[in-house]
């Protein structure tokens, strides 16, 4: 029975990847946005190029995992194709897991393009490759679950983009993407601890360079797992309520 549920989740993810993710606009948005942001930062501070890789990779995960994820369910609700998933003999958890998986896979692939790009163009070296990849997966899980939550919460696609950006853009500037959290003004630093991107950047930094800026990596992993679980189950809860309205 569980194998049916997991298999169903994978089929949903694969369908989403084919239908929504592997499309030129989505791929270009996932790649172009972090590149443009990074270039803007480099123009301001060319000497910071070596510290850029962790933030760049984390930002790539954030935007790749949420760009389609935040609108997929709201779009499918509008076209009534989401009803088709709800009619299938799968639990709500498995349906949403399938949705989250699509974002994870896409986020993971785009992050690895940035990882290779960083190695080639920025001379980035990796301290622990396997743990780095696991961190990328964990980051993609958090942000994909965030995208799913946004998508089940809102009723219109425009609202999904507004709500997703309400969190995504402040995160870019508050979570140590361009500037380590420890070198930010002290009154801003507590805000950084609220957002999961801070922990993702810090973990990626640790597995690239061997040093961390914000928090012990083990605690960072626990925080990201907790975030993923909370965001995912909030999505399940909201969807259950929506189904009864």
């Amino acid at each position: 029975m569980y194998s049916n549920e997991i298999r169903g989740a994978f089929y949903i993810a694969w369908k989403d990847l084919k239908t929504y993710y592997f499309k030129a606009p989505n791929i270009s948005w996932g790649i172009m946005f972090p590149v443009v942001m990074a270039l803007a930062f480099l123009l301001r501070n060319p000497s910071g190029i070596k510290d850029l890789a962790p933030g760049l990779i984390a930002m790539a995960i954030l935007f790749a995992s949420t760009s389609a994820e935040a609108i997929v369910i709201v779009f499918e609700r509008r076209t009534k194709t989401f009803e088709r998933l709800l009619l299938a003999p799968l639990s709500i958890q498995s349906i949403l897991l399938g949705k989250v998986l699509g974002g994870i896979i896409f986020g993971f692939l785009i992050a690895n393009i940035f990882l290779i790009g960083s190695a080639i163009f920025l001379g980035t070296t990796v301290s622990n490759f396997i743990f780095l990849e696991l961190t990328v997966l964990l980051g993609a899980l958090v942000f994909s679950a965030f995208g799913t939550l946004v998508s089940v919460y809102v009723k219109e696609i425009f609202d999904a983009m507004t709500l997703a950006n309400f969190f995504r853009f402040p995160m870019i500037f508050l979570c140590g993407v361009f500037l380590p959290v420890s070198s930010m003004p002290s009154f801003i630093q507590p805000l950084a601890y609220i957002f999961p991107l801070t922990y993702a950047v810090d973990l990626i930094r640790f597995f690239l360079t061997g040093t961390y800026d914000v928090i012990n990596p083990l605690i960072g992993v626990v925080v990201l797992i907790a975030y993923s679980t909370i965001l995912f189950y909030l999505s399940v809860l909201i969807l259950r309520r929506r189904m009864d309205q």
Binding site: G8, Y11, K18, K80, T81, L86, L87, A88, P89
Partner: protein, 282 residues
């Protein structure tokens, strides 16, 4: 309020709760005191009815009568506020995932994936229902052949005509060999030829042993296809009987007349026909 004598084991008065004698061998759907509230709004009011195995069962009612809410509860898209239904021996409250394996649903909208081809849409449906791969591919080819659109196999769903889309949607619902097929307004907006094709398809499926649960606003469609008709008004079942008996009981020439009589729409229709709904503003 009138109560009509029924050929089911109970006469359906909307005023009192009813007791039914269920026959698990005979019936594929048994609805028991099913109730649905949306906040304070009562959409479905303690309804009871059963659907015989192999029947073409028409579920009719005016707009807002509770048809869609009832169907959504039966197929697992909504939870009942109270009461339950047994489908193929399983309880919709406790075993909805199991029930979904034996039920096919064709919703009012042609809600398949525009970007995917006909075959990919059918394949995805088979995957969701856990149909094993070899059987899945065989089933796709079988359905394409049986319903005569093998040439459309690789065509994107978005490029099909409206009638063809409905055919594909029905085939999608058949991928897992359901025992009962719920059809919600299957012919809305289709041309005469597409309607005829779908009617033939529905009859053929029924001959193959699939029980059909049909909702439609086209009463003549129900008269043409259904063996049994249930009429729901304001969330309450008014009657369940054969089209012939409904016409006899109401002394009507056709099912539409009987429907108007049973639903109490006669006065409103007369008002419309007299032009009473349009006020003279001069």
């Amino acid at each position: 309020m009138k109560t009509y004598e029924l050929n089911q084991s109970v006469a359906f008065s909307s005023e009192k709760p009813v007791k039914m004698h269920y026959d698990k061998e005979k019936n594929i759907v048994e609805v028991k005191n099913l109730t649905k509230y949306y906040g304070k709004l009562l959409a479905v009011d303690k309804i009871n009815f059963s659907v015989k195995k192999g029947d073409i069962f028409g579920f009719l009612g005016p707009n807002g009568a509770g048809k869609t809410s009832t169907i959504k509860i039966l197929v697992g898209l909504l939870k009942p506020s109270s009461g339950t239904a047994i489908i193929d021996g399983k309880d919709i409250v406790k075993q909805i995932v199991e029930i979904k394996k034996t039920v096919g649903v064709v919703t009012e909208d042609s809600n398949l994936y525009d970007e995917l081809s006909v075959a990919d849409n059918l394949r995805f449906a088979g995957q969701l229902y856990g149909v094993p791969k070899p059987e899945r591919e065989e089933r796709i080819n079988e359905l394409l052949k049986r319903f005569d659109f093998e040439d459309k196999k690789d065509v994107k769903f978005s490029n099909l005509s409206r009638g063809m889309k409905r055919k594909v949607v029905i085939c999608t619902a058949l991928m897992h060999n359901p025992k009962i097929l719920f059809l919600d307004e299957p012919t809305t907006g289709l041309d005469v030829l597409s309607v005829r094709i779908l009617h033939t398809m529905i009859k053929d499926l029924n001959k193959m042993g699939v029980t059909i649960f049909l909702t439609t606003h086209y009463i003549e469609e129900a008269e043409h296809l259904c063996n049994t008709i249930a009429i729901i008004v304001n969330g309450k079942i008014k009657t369940v009987d054969t089209p012939k008996n409904l016409m006899l009981q109401t002394k009507s020439k056709n099912l539409e007349e009987a429907f108007i009589e049973i639903t109490g729409l006669r006065e409103e229709i007369m008002l419309v026909e007299k032009g009473g709904m349009i006020k003279n503003v001069q």
